[in-house]
């Protein structure tokens, strides 16, 4: 039986996938002040995972990432909507966002905005949608 030897692909993937994931997190966090944001961050994460699927195969990746990507979609939507719902609690117009300056260990003083939570929702939804589409088509029987 013909068995391809994809040693180079697998070795480079294990390096590149982590660079991609790190870049995705950077894009997600940088969205407020420079190009980036939840949408492109989610797509970048999905592309890292797809790269792993391509080089290691279905079973191996399922073992290390036991996530049902389809449930990520409603989870992400719930995160995004609840940042809007928060405005009901504080009695301000729907979707009002706020920010504050906090001093964190190591990082020092950072500006944290609730718009980030909305972006997290977008990120999770985009990741879920992209992975669901790709895996559904790839698993076609």
């Amino acid at each position: 039986m013909y068995k391809p030897n994809d040693l180079i692909l697998r070795t480079t993937t294990s390096v590149i996938a982590f660079i991609l994931l790190g870049f995705a997190v950077y894009l997600l966090l940088a969205g407020h002040n420079s190009p980036g944001g939840g949408f492109v961050g989610g797509l970048m994460t999905a592309s890292a995972i797809v790269l792993m699927y391509m080089s290691y195969g279905m079973e191996a990746v399922k073992k290390i990432l036991p996530i049902n990507f389809r449930t990520l979609i409603p989870i992400g939507l719930l995160i995004a909507v609840s940042t809007g719902i928060g405005s009901f609690v504080f009695n301000v117009p729907f979707l009002s966002h706020t920010f504050g300056h906090f001093t964190l260990p190591i990082l020092g003083e950072v500006e944290l905005a609730t718009a980030m939570l909305f972006d997290m929702g977008v990120y999770v939804t985009v990741l879920g949608v992209t992975m669901t589409i790709i895996l559904t088509i790839a698993n076609d029987r």
Binding site: V81, P93, H97
Partner: protein
């Protein structure tokens, strides 16, 4: 600031998200969907009550002032339609468990159902043209999923046409908004209206108005652009057909009503006069379609086209009586179309076929279904005690006072033919000899009749209680004919 205005959008949205988690547990989904839709109906009625007593609710989302942020405007017209939408959705949520397969329900039916309601409510409430486009896409995405749910061969064929035509018109919608933005420099409807008024709707704006009309006419299935609609509305499950028939085309006609009563009102002889012609042609061609077929579901689907024609006739004539008639007819038609789709769904289920030539004598076994169909035919055609009458009367009165005699005659004739097309189902399907094959397998209509009676009760109330309802409809049309009120309430000058 009032967060109430966003509730009719946000409650179905959250319900849809929560139901997506429980998609595998049919029992829980059914209970949750009924509870959520009743909460939403209650909230919508409360908001309608507040708006009719205290005036429009304006919500500047995120606290950004009027022309800069997204504005949600729950004015009397919008809340009336949101309330009607929720009444229809309640009937459909209670009908669905008896009509859907468990397999269809587990494939996210309830999640898409609530997303559709969220999209429709959002399209009614928004005060921003680009947001209207976004909500159109929300409801269309949900409808794409619902139309193929089940994956039958005909469903796949019809959904291709449906998706293609709607994508095409959505592209045109974005293009039209881009043109409008490049001319007036804003997408907020109140500010567009103000700026169009300043330049007295010069040539290029009328062109954009016609382009927008073309987009909405495709969504609303008006005369030259209705060919995609009837077949694609009959292929899914009866509940889904009822939702589509009652809500989707009506969102299109609502957008025409809003845009051509608020923004483009300075070249009436160009745009609105053409509407009367289009309305007349829609009546003729819709009724020809309804008379040409013996598929009971298709008869109802074709009847959507003349109904949209009636509403367009009021928008075209554009005086107090005609606009009141249009609004009355819009509310009436949403309810009765939903009832009729659910009704023919039940008839097709008990008869085992939707071909009118293959069954007769159903009244011997299902008298209640038969008489419900009889009443709803009267409601649809506009026989006096019921709701269709008041709307048509106002439309005819308005058109006569504007000296549009041809459309009045056409409307009366098409009402007669509408009555005939529904009565054909009653005469051929319910009268006649007992069909012996039916008695051996008499099917239970448990759960199917309740929602239909619920909807018909509203039709009867709309007709008999016209004394109580007409003043609020009249106040809506006064409000629509004076766009200054809308502009001032949104822009706060």
């Amino acid at each position: 600031m009032s967060n109430l205005a966003v509730l009719p959008i946000i409650i179905p949205l959250i319900s849809g998200i929560i139901l997506a988690f429980f998609h595998n547990k049919v029992g829980i989904s059914r209970w949750l969907s009924k509870i959520f839709i009743l909460i939403n109906l209650g909230v919508a009625s409360y908001i309608a009550w507040i708006v009719f007593n205290n005036g429009a609710l304006i919500l500047e989302t995120g606290g950004w002032e009027a022309p800069y942020g997204i504005i949600l405007v729950a004015d009397p017209l919008a809340v009336t339609l949101v309330l009607t939408t929720n009444i229809i959705a309640t009937a459909c949520a209670f009908y669905a468990p008896y009509s859907m397969d468990v397999k269809q329900e587990t494939h996210y039916f309830y999640a898409f159902f609530f997303l559709l309601i969220a999209g429709v409510s959002g399209a009614f409430i928004t005060g921003d043209l680009f947001n209207l486009y976004v909500f159109f896409e929300v409801l269309l995405m949900a409808s794409y999923a619902l139309i193929v749910l089940g994956g039958g061969k005909v469903q796949l064929r019809e959904s291709i046409k449906y998706v293609l035509i709607n994508l095409f018109s959505s592209v045109l919608f974005v293009t039209a908004i881009a043109f409008l933005y490049s001319v007036v420099g804003t997408v907020n409807m109140a500010q567009i209206a103000e700026r169009v008024q300043d330049v007295d709707q010069k040539g290029v704006l009328t062109t954009i108005a016609v382009l927008l009309f073309f987009v909405f006419a495709t969504k609303a299935a008006l005369f030259p652009l209705y060919y995609w609609m009837p077949k694609s509305y009959v292929v899914p499950n009866p509940v889904i057909s009822a939702l589509f028939g009652a809500l989707l085309t009506k969102v299109g006609v609502y957008s025409i009503l809003r845009v051509f009563s608020l923004i483009f009102i300075y070249k009436l002889d160009l745009t609105h006069h053409a509407f009367i012609w289009i309305a007349g042609l829609s009546m003729i061609f819709g009724i020809i379609g309804a008379l040409s077929t013996s598929n009971i579901k298709l008869i109802i689907a074709y009847n959507i086209v003349p109904a949209i024609g009636f509403i367009m006739m009021g928008i075209g004539v554009f005086n107090q009586d005609a606009i009141s008639g249009s609004i009355y007819y819009l509310v009436h038609d949403m309810i009765i179309k939903c009832a009729l789709f659910l009704l023919v769904g039940a008839v097709a289920y008990v008869a085992g076929t939707s071909d009118l030539r293959k069954f007769s004598g159903l009244i011997h076994y299902y008298p209640l279904l038969g008489w419900l169909l009889f009443v709803s035919a009267f409601v649809l055609a506009g026989i006096p005690p019921f709701s269709g009458f008041i709307g048509k009367l106002l439309l005819l009165k308005g058109s006569l006072s504007a000296n549009e005699v041809a459309i009045v005659i056409l409307a009366l004739l098409s009402s007669l033919l509408i009555l005939y097309s529904i009565m054909k189902i009653f005469i051929n399907g319910f009268w006649g000899e007992k069909d012996e094959s039916l008695i051996t397998e008499k099917k239970s209509t448990k759960g199917l009749v309740g929602p239909i009676v619920f909807l018909l009760a509203f039709s009867v109330i709309l007709g008999l209680g016209a004394e109580f309802i007409y003043p609020s409809i009249e106040s809506i049309s006064t409000y629509l004919l004076d766009p200054e009120v809308y502009m001032e309430s949104v822009l706060k000058e």
